[in-house]
């Protein structure tokens, strides 16, 4: 059921996408579409590198394969007249144009949406914005990690009276990055069926709020702010993380019914405190949760997190180690699913043309959806500008000499 039929073409074979913009969400969308078989042409320039090559600072481009695999990567300075013309030529042979540049920037470059439509009347346009392309905040700036505050999630996280609870990542960039391919594929179906095209504007802000959950309704109906419950749950107990042997090691245990509690108790060796009557029912365990959690913690801290997870799961208790990077890298389950795969990368160096960067070894996840018929390849990893000859030569029919001339002129650069 999980081995893709290698004879089958990819699901989106024949679809061509122009990806125009840096950072997280837009490149993630391109990676997903590319993995599904679309030909994604990523337009970049050596003159202004994507800052994600240097975030985190140690990565120097080693993290880029996770965003950029499976694309055709070309260099083009669209601020030049010839560069702009080539961009529009590419739009004419593409089904989808997607960008996260602001409206005033696109206007300045004369690569605005009316112009895209003029060049390719049936193009699907995906315009990714931060806070929105229209409305009172359309000029406002935002970035990744802070949008979890804006979208209301940080005040749902942690405990009451604590500062807003934060996850150390570009929070809803990822929601946006995965909403967008769904919107694009649907828009292509709609185009095929009705002949109508569509411009879709997404926003990182909205993507975060859209996944706020039932708390959004609870406030409207009951006038209640989201309850900050830490790791606990109104409907289950024990439901928390517990310390394990080792530095900063924890396991999550989530017992949702009385049967699971008995299994956990047995796995702990039926300690005297745990067989007490007050723990027999969910309500009783909820009422005595501090003592319950303390009792479990005393036991769990003697155990290795992964061994304990596997022991509890084998006993029918929902449990998960809080995985660290080493665990993920070495995990047998993820290995058997070929989730992480080795990849080369090029070490980013400011002021040096990407094709002259040094090659190194890195690792990337593969798309977390396995399809039984159509391949989702790990994909080729092109360096910035590596596909200039293919795109400008083969697709646009430009003679070799002309490509070289434009490279030297700083247009294809």
């Amino acid at each position: 059921m999980t081995s893709a039929n290698i004879e089958a073409p990819a699901a989106l074979a024949g679809i061509r996408v122009v990806e125009f913009g840096p950072y997280v969400a837009l490149p993630l969308t391109g990676r997903i579409l590319g993995s599904l078989g679309a030909e994604v042409i990523k337009v970049e320039t050596n003159k202004v590198l994507d800052e994600m090559s240097f975030i985190p600072a140690w990565s120097r481009g080693a993290g880029q394969p996770e965003y950029q695999r499976g694309k055709r990567r070309i260099t083009l300075d669209v601020r030049t007249e010839a560069g702009r013309d080539l961009m529009l030529e590419m739009v004419r042979i593409s089904d989808v144009f997607m960008t996260n540049f602001r409206r005033n920037v696109l206007d300045r470059w004369r690569i605005d949406f009316p112009e895209i439509r003029k060049q390719r009347p049936d193009a699907i346009i995906m315009w990714q914005t931060g806070l929105g392309g229209h409305g009172p905040y359309y000029t406002y700036k935002s970035f990744g990690i802070l949008v979890q505050h804006l979208s209301g999630v940080s005040l749902m996280t942690g405990l009451p009276d604590e500062p807003p609870g934060v996850v150390n990542t570009s929070y809803s960039d990822y929601h946006t990055g995965v909403f967008q391919p769904a919107g694009i594929i649907a828009a292509l179906m709609r185009r095929n069926l009705t002949g109508k095209t569509a411009t879709l504007e997404s926003s990182i802000f909205k993507s975060g709020v859209a996944t706020g959950g039932p708390a959004l309704l609870d406030y409207q109906v009951n006038g209640r702010d989201p309850q900050r419950r830490g790791n606990r749950d109104e409907w289950a107990a024990p439901h928390n993380v517990y310390p394990c042997a080792g530095e900063d090691r924890y396991i999550a245990i989530a017992v949702s019914d009385d049967e699971q509690w008995v299994r956990l108790r047995k796995a702990m060796g039926d300690p005297e405190w745990a067989v007490a009557a007050e723990y027999e029912t969910r309500l009783g365990r909820r009422r005595n949760e501090d003592a319950l959690d303390a009792g479990i913690a005393e036991w769990s801290r003697q155990h290795d997190p992964q061994a304990l997870m596997e022991k509890l799961q084998a006993a029918g208790v929902p449990a998960g180690m809080v995985s660290q990077g080493r665990d993920l890298n070495e995990n047998a389950h993820l290995k058997s699913r070929e989730f992480y795969q080795d990849t080369q990368y090029w070490e980013a160096e400011r002021g040096v043309k990407a094709t002259e960067w040094t090659e190194g070894e890195s690792v990337s996840w593969s798309i977390p959806a396995k399809m039984s018929e159509t391949p989702i390849p790990f994909g080729k990893y092109s360096n910035i500008g590596e596909d200039n000859a293919y795109v400008f030569g083969q697709l646009l029919g430009m003679p070799d000499g002309e490509i070289e001339r434009l490279e030297e002129a700083g247009v294809i650069y």
């Binding site: 993290g63 929105g132 009172p136 996280t157 150390n168 998960g320 990077g325």
Partner: protein
Amino acid sequence: MPRFDEYTGEHLIPPYRVLDLTDRRAAFCGRLLADYGADVVKVEPPSGDPSRGLGPYPGDVADAERSLDFLFYNTNKRSITLDLETEAGRGVFRRLAADADVIIESYDRHFLGDRGIGYDDLRGDNPGLVMASVTPFGSTGEWADYSGDDLVVMAASGYMQITGEPDEPPVRQGNEHSHYPGAQYAAVGILAALYYRDFADGGVGQHIDVSSQEALITYYTDAHPALLWRKLGQNVTRVGTNSTLVIPLGAYPCKDGWIAAGVITPREWDALAEWIHEVTGNDEVLNEAYRGGNQDRAEHIDIITALFLEFAENFTVQEMFHEGQRRNLVFLPVNEVADLLADPQLAESGFWYDIEHEEGSIGTIKYPLGIFHSEEVSARRRPAPALGADNMAVYQGELGMTADELATLRGDGII
């Protein structure tokens, strides 16, 4: 190419028939498809989807038709009841599946197969069937039979490892964040599979296996946990509300709440220092030692944080937000749900959809359906269905059951 005579493109997704057998861990997949136009039919046991038994409820009065949890995850779907634990129920399900474009399910991996209604059983009668399974750890591998809810998936993915304060235990993100990534990837896979089936030469149906653990790992890609281990032998960690490296970066108290601020470039620092000086008159903030970019201020964290807090207490959240942005600084409010519902940006960009509930106690409330703003397409706006609300329409109207047949199945408790 499929024939959708009624479909004129008002909604983004053509009205594909989707049978939704998910619980709340994957229900957002069907919701996303339903919001944008798919005909998603939730197949519930006669006792109702378990999430109908979960609060919150209006006025905290338990009522299977008013679980806000169920209402949120099942907007725009239809509902039929069917007991898959009986052979008669499974027979009806096979008939439904023979005609469906898509089935989404989140049962334990052997549940449907053991009952003779897994993908391999159903595809014979319907080679075009697209079926997606969303499970905590995927359908293959050593951990495939492991069970887990939101907390377990957040832990095993490592997402919790970087959530919370560094000197405290990991904490889960309070919106049950793990319910979304797997559901979103499943929606992408389903749409791609339908595209292949309907618009490629020789396209057929297929099965899609999504692991919520893997999906959530990709939702913190910029921390690169496996890569950091390989390159530097380090594990990613929690940084807490405020960064200790980039200053200021985080959430800071002001008059009536919290402001989120991120100052990274040298130019942004200069603009902020000037503003702080205007407000507090404290010359210390102009100290040359604090100028520069990104991590240059790290050694001065205590004094700079103190300067910032002294400055921030002069403003309300909204004052700081708009004045900060006017000065080209990334200042954002730390919003509560009430703030989101009142936010002018969300209001003006067509994000909230008013949905009217028939039963009196809820009335008309706003749902977040407008993730794509577009002049060409809109989201649908039907409230989540009452239990079995579409039994007649689906079983009689579409499946062609007679009234007697339906009555018998009802009498036997199968529908």
